[in-house]
Amino acid sequence: MTSFDQTYTFDINQQQIVYHRFGKGEPVLFIHGITTYSFIWRNIWPYFANDYDVIVVDLAGCGESSKNIEGSFSLKNHAFMLAELIEHLDLKNVHLVCHDVGGGIGQIMVVNNTILFKSLTLINSVAYDYWPVQPIISMRTPIIRNLAMISLDLGAFRLLVKRGMYYRNRVDDELMSFFWKPMDTRDGRKAFLYFAHCLNNQDLMEIKDDLAALRLPVLIIRGEGDVFLRKVISEDLHKNIHNSQYKKISTGGHFVQEDEPEQLSQLILNFYRGLNGRG
């Protein structure tokens, strides 16, 4: 793994956001999803660091950022904190690259302040109400239950990670140590569960129309082996967002960054080149 040699912090809403920044050029902000943190981009950002101003964040309650659960970890709130970070860093023409629930955060960010952004890339992203986290019947929401259980046991966590990979034999001790690290402390586990608890489909349902009206270039990427999020989500996003492209990686799972980092990076870089008239 290429190490983060430039680490910064940003305080907002009683939270301390940790982010890493490398290179020069148009800013690219990488936003992870649930169960992961900045480490998930470790094989991706090196492809961008030569030509872009790369910013990789740990969302509040994740990775090395603070674990204060007094405030909300809702998608809206995460989007608010990251927007504050962009303003703090005085970034313009930001490319957003989002994964999993990070995709929901990215959607909220771009509809709220489109002018700040140059593009949005959604990789195996949540959207609309297809993401079944809302309490439906007796709180028996599979994903939440899954997340609760995996927070307690490394073996269960390993199963989840394996299910999220196309190349399941790549799940080794090093990768698991990245995934498991926040679960090692009680506060880490609490923050993780609180993040899950705060997830609400309503946040994304609210922006459904704004998303349809979006004119920002959007790249939608799906690992065809993703067993956690159905392909209909990506298909509907592509159908509803006017200026969107839809790319599929047949050998990618939910954690496609681990399965096909180069292929994934090249898809995004090609997308950027297209935006600049070079693709």
């Binding site: 659960i69 309490p135 019947i137 609760a148 307690l152 009680r186 506060d187 609180y194």
Partner: protein
């Protein structure tokens, strides 16, 4: 999922979905319970203290049963204390808000064991204030428990209004409490066991330390004892050697109260060698047995004296086993040994001392005699020297007178000459003797013609007789025929002087009769016998006549001159010639001396 070709109405499908959801929920419950118990069981393996255990389990039950807040509380007589808590919506470990437990609720709980109360009934305002934006408390379940360390405790579980059914079945919570308290009991027992073990280990350690200390002390004592024993052994050996190797006989006698010897306790090797008795024989003897008959009476007074003075010395004669005797000086000391009165007697054989003592007395007497002789000699010498000198001086003075006749001058000159000769002889004798005594005279063995020597001596004697006006005395030289013209290896000068001295004495002390010199060969010795018919030597002088400065002086010999050195010179010269001179006989009829020297015939 449609598994057959039957067509369902919408309502039927909804019912079907609801059934499937229920089944799913039931299955999910079972899975959760299994997982929870698995987690609890796994926790036992890694958790070793009460606090960690309860923290881990509260967290797990909270997560799996979606319990936002749960507590473990210890109830005391007038208060209660939160032992551990878990609040899903609080940061940190101990920020959980404490519930308010009213007395009547506690009382009710203790009588019923388990309570389920709607939050509306217990005024959960305290939760609402703190976490109102996170969840809405719906029900509280309180389960009473007691364990070894918490005698009166309660687990409190609070449900969220969105999870109303969670307390419908309390089996899993009761099981949870039971497992926790069982584990606590086990941990308690393990803890007690650990404490007992630690206490035992401490005791064993202390005991071991004490034993080690005592062992070390004992070891040191043994070491010291061994060292002391070793030193004592060395001392014992040293004194044994001193005792056994002493030149003096050492006896250790035990005495009874009345100063009499009871038994012999020990003797050394010197005592055995000195007396000739064996060790066992000496051990059965008393000091009296060692003493000669005439001295046994001295023992009792000696012991009495020793009793008083503690030390005493006595000289006695001891008798050996073979009957021979020897003088001993016995130094004795009286002392107490192991409550017994003991005499240590050191007996020294003083035979040598006694002999030396006698020799010293003898030497002293001889010295005194020698001194007396010297005085006598000096007195005699002064007379002997002064007399001729007076004559010489007197007659020389007379010659100087003018009115003397020629015959008178001649007579006076003869007198002066005679006296001068006598003085010269006297001085010659003194010088000769001095030379002999100083070791300046060494014999020179050369072939000597004895016959020729005898003829010369005869002429000298005749001349001497003439000088003394004793021509009437007959001189007889009787030489063995085998010596005729024979050469004998000896020192002629010294042989001549010995024979001259003896013959001169005969001339001086013989008034009439004869003087005989007889020579013979006896075995390998050449013997000269000089006999005369003189006045003889009184018997009392016989042993002394060969000593220096001894001269027989009595009424008869008063006027006979002499130095008293002649026979002493003869004795010394005869020894130089490996021969011997002695007085054979002497009486009023005459005197006989003999001179014997080795007979070494020579061819030339």
């Amino acid at each position: 999922m449609v598994e057959d070709n039957k067509e369902y109405s919408i309502e039927e499908l909804k019912d079907r979905i609801t059934d499937l959801e229920k089944q799913n929920n039931a299955l999910s419950d079972q899975v959760e319970e299994t997982i929870l118990f698995n987690f609890i069981s796994e926790s036992f393996d890694s958790i070793s203290n009460d606090k960690e255990l309860i923290e881990a389990l509260l967290e797990k039950i909270s997560i799996l049963k979606e319990i936002p807040v749960c507590y473990c509380i210890e109830i005391k007589s007038r208060s209660y204390k939160v032992i551990s808590s878990y609040c899903a919506y609080d940061s940190g470990s101990n920020d959980c808000v404490e519930p308010v437990l009213k007395k009547e609720i506690i009382a009710q709980l203790q009588s019923q064991g388990v309570l389920k109360i709607k939050c509306d009934d217990v005024d959960p305002a305290v939760f609402k204030d703190k976490v109102k934006h996170k969840f809405e408390p719906y029900e509280i379940v309180l389960i009473h428990f007691h364990s070894h360390n918490v005698k009166n405790g309660v687990f409190v579980f609070v449900s969220d209004i969105n999870n109303k059914e969670v307390f419908d079945d309390l089996f899993i919570f009761n099981q949870f409490v039971k497992i926790v308290t069982d584990k606590w009991e086990r941990l308690g027992l393990i803890l007690q066991l650990k404490k007992l073990n630690q206490s035992l280990e401490r005791k064993v350690k202390a005991r071991t330390t004490e034993l080690t200390r005592l062992n070390n002390m004992l070891f040191q004592e043994i070491q010291t004892h061994q060292n002391t024993n070793h030193e004592l052994n060395i001392e014992r050996k040293k004194f044994h050697q001193l005792f056994q190797k002493a030149n003096d006989a050492i006896y250790l006698w035990e005495i009874d109260g009345v100063a009499s010897i009871k038994r012999c306790m020990e003797v050394n090797q010197a005592a055995i060698e000195m007396t000739g008795y064996s060790y066992d024989e000496l051990m059965n003897m008393t000091p009296s047995d060692l003493m000669v008959k005439g001295m046994k009476g001295q023992l009792k007074p000696f012991l009495e004296k020793l009793e008083v003075n503690k030390t005493s010395k006595i000289e006695v004669i001891h008798q050996r086993k073979d009957g021979t005797t020897f003088p001993v000086e016995v130094n004795s000391h009286l002392f107490t040994l192991d409550d017994k009165k003991v005499i240590l007697s050191i007996a020294r054989n003083i035979s040598e001392w006694k002999k030396i003592e006698l020799d010293l007395i003898d030497a002293k007497e001889q010295a005194e005699e020698s001194d007396r002789l010297k005085s006598s000699f000096l007195a005699n010498m002064s007379h002997e020297i002064r007399t001729p000198l007076n004559a010489i001086c007197g007659f020389t003075e007379l010659i100087k007178e003018d009115n003397l006749e020629m015959s008178e001058v001649k007579d006076f000159a003869d007198i002066i000459l005679n006296n001068s000769s006598h003085l010269l002889n006297l001085i010659n004798d003194l010088v000769d003797f001095s030379k002999i005594e100083a070791g300046y005279v060494k014999p020179t063995f050369m072939p000597v013609n004895i016959s020729h020597l005898l003829r010369n001596l005869e002429l000298n004697v005749q001349s001497l007789l003439y000088n003394f006006n004793k021509e009437h005395i007959k001189i007889i030289i009787d030489s063995a025929e085998e010596l005729e013209e024979k050469l004998v290896l000896t020192d002629e000068v010294q042989l001549r002087q010995i024979l001259s001295n003896l013959l001169n004495n005969s001339v001086k002390y013989t008034r009439k009769g004869s003087i005989t010199l007889k020579t013979s060969i006896v075995k390998d010795q050449l013997q000269f016998i000089i006999s005369d018919t003189g006045i003889g030597i009184p018997k009392k002088f016989h042993e002394k006549i060969f000593e220096r400065f001894v001269q027989v002086k009595d009424k008869k010999t008063f006027s006979i001159p002499g130095t008293g050195l002649g026979l002493a010179i003869c004795l010394n010269l005869a020894e130089m010639l490996n021969g011997e001179v002695k007085l054979l006989d002497s009486s009023i009829k005459g005197t006989s001396f003999s001179l014997t020297i080795p007979y070494y015939p020579s061819s030339k």
